[in-house]
């Protein structure tokens, strides 16, 4: 376990030295926190009713409903964030090692495969969980301060909270595993990130489903989603670990 922390410490030192990576990690959550604040503060005067029909917002006044739609739209971005941030870090972390040719000297050390992979996964996962939870909490606080009390309870539902707290780490793990697989085949960070975008398509589908009123993120649906995510995350992590073998990295990675 000690070596996992050594790798983690090195990864964090490297992350802190990469300005572009830091922007990619901190800018999206910052925007997700600022934009709804501006819209809620400046734009939602309730004079224009939203044409979107979201089941969870039924029972609100027109003014509250408009705020609720804005809140619901943005609340889902935090679920997406949990996939975007770790895949960005993982792309830099793994492809960075490849392009710098640091993987071979690293693999030549007496480090075990699980230690190396755990260090890489945690380096991508921990900041993303932190960023997602902190910015999501800021968003909830904004809702509490700048919208009517009714709106908060309609946007921050039990289903959303379950997905936000327990689903986001699993989604992050899925994203990192997919990025590891992509990293074995490509040699530049941008291509890897472009390919990894496909991983968020199912989540965008869920968001669109909710916003179109065809789907409501209830507690039971969030639990089922989590239960599906657990084996998916385990399976993908196992797949990533199969690709992350010394032999495979040195002889089959492109």
């Amino acid at each position: 376990m000690h070596k996992v922390f050594i790798i983690l410490r090195k990864e964090f030192s490297e992350i802190l030295q990469q300005r572009v990576l830091l922007y990619s990690v901190f800018l999206p959550p910052l925007l997700f926190d600022i934009i709804p604040l501006l819209i809620l503060h400046l734009g939602s005067n309730g004079t224009h009713g939203s044409s979107i029909r979201i089941p969870s917002l039924q029972g609100l006044t027109l003014y509250e409903y408009t705020q609720g739609v804005i809140g619901t739209e943005f609340s889902n971005f935090y679920i997406l964030l949990s996939m975007i941030v770790p895949s960005t870090i993982a792309a830099y972390s793994i492809i960075g090692e490849k392009s710098n040719r640091t993987l071979e000297p690293l693999l030549a050390t007496p480090v075990q495969r699980w230690q190396l992979l755990s260090g890489k996964i945690l380096a991508a996962l921990l900041p993303s969980i932190l960023v997602t939870w902190v910015s999501g909490s800021v968003f909830v606080a904004e809702l509490a301060i700048f919208t009517d009390a009714n709106v908060v309870s309609h946007v921050v539902t039990g289903g959303w909270l379950i997905l936000f707290i327990s689903g986001t780490p699993l989604l992050g793990l899925v994203a990192v595993s997919i990025m590891t697989a992509i990293s074995s085949q490509v040699n530049d960070t941008r291509t890897a990130q472009q390919l990894s975008i496909w991983a968020v398509v199912p989540i965008i589908g869920i968001i669109l489903g909710e916003l179109s009123g065809k789907f409501e993120l209830t507690v039971s649906i969030a639990v089922v989603f989590d239960l599906i995510l657990i084996p998916v995350a385990i399976f993908l992590t196992w797949g990533a670990s199969q690709l992350f073998q010394r032999e495979t990295i040195l002889t089959r990675w492109k």
Binding site: K10, S13, Q17, P105, L106
Partner: protein, 313 residues
């Protein structure tokens, strides 16, 4: 005791046999030069011997550990300088080495001591806080060598350690390899620099998918071309070839400009008669010296012969 012992070690990638039936024994404290053209399978061999990839067949014992069974112990016992330095550009020299020191199971205190020792030894101490991305190629190479030595391995693999370095830095690296040899470490040196191999190595293996020859540099030279004498004359040396060839013990004579190269079984005993013959024939002799063939000539002869054999086959 041998640091490396391989028995019929083979590695294939699909139909391509990169390393074929490699059997060799390298005694402790030896500087072993592993020579071969690009694509000969040298890197694959080094990767197998440092427990990075597994052989398709055959066996090996590295630093007393059986390959395949004690790979982690092997990795702990060997140091490796890969073809490219492979350093973290955004981290300082100090942080790079500390990271690898700890990865080689050194405590933070021990790692710190070792990092300081090697940074000072390789004249990088003053740059310890600088990011490696700003280092010259020579400094990066020295740092990578320091990384390979942090855990004080008895066995070190050096892949092209002076490749692309300026002559001054290359000399620093070569001198450092001599220091390592004096400390009794076994060095597995992969290089294309044949004079360097000649200068540093106790044992040479010429390799092209399989081991073509394994011997000391001196034996290699003698066994390929025999011993001989070089005679420098005034004027065209070709005029005297016939006279020298008339001596029964002379094996071969070649002339190039004003130099005669004569292959002799016992130069010390036969040189006086050669000189007498030349003088009596009218040659004006400027100098007589031992004819030595370079390792480069030996290497090219071996590799070209192998190529012709393979092509003919």
């Amino acid at each position: 005791m041998n640091s490396i012992e391989t028995n019929h070690l083979t590695r294939s990638f699909g139909k391509l046999v990169a390393v074929d039936d490699l059997s060799l024994a390298i005694p402790e404290g030896t500087v072993f030069g592993f020579l071969g053209p690009n694509g000969a399978g040298k890197t694959t061999t080094v990767r197998m011997l440092s427990a990075l990839i597994s052989p398709t067949s055959g066996s090996a014992v590295i630093a007393g550990y059986q390959l395949g069974e004690h790979n982690e112990e092997i990795r702990q016992s060997v140091g490796i300088l890969t073809e490219t330095p492979g350093l973290y550009d955004r981290l300082s020299a100090w942080d790079n080495l500390m990271f690898f020191g700890e990865m080689y199971n050194l405590s933070r205190e021990k790692a710190s001591t070792q990092v300081e020792r090697y940074l000072r030894l390789l004249d990088l101490w003053d740059r310890r806080g600088d990011k490696v991305g700003g280092f010259s190629k020579g400094m990066r190479q020295k740092l990578a060598i320091a990384r390979a030595l942090l855990h004080e391995p008895k066995m070190i693999f050096l892949d092209e350690p002076t490749s692309g370095l300026d002559p001054e830095t290359a000399k620093v690296v070569r001198d450092f390899i001599k220091v390592l040899r004096a400390e009794g470490r076994t060095i597995f040196l992969t290089t294309h620099n044949l004079p360097e191999a000649d200068e540093l190595c106790d044992l040479i293996g010429v390799f092209r998918s399989r081991l073509l020859r394994l011997d000391t540099p001196a034996n290699l030279r003698n066994s390929m071309f025999g011993s001989g004498t070089r005679v420098r004359v005034i004027g065209d040396a070709a005029r005297w070839v016939k006279s020298v060839r008339a001596l029964a013990f002379v094996q071969q004579v070649t002339a190039s400009e004003n130099i005669l190269t004569i292959s002799l079984p016992h130069p010390d005993e036969q040189n006086p008669e050669v000189v007498r013959k030349l003088v009596s024939a009218g040659a004006d002799i400027c100098a007589v010296e031992p004819a030595s063939h370079s390792l480069e000539e030996v290497y090219l002869e071996l590799v070209e012969n192998e190529h012709e054999t393979v092509t003919a086959g």
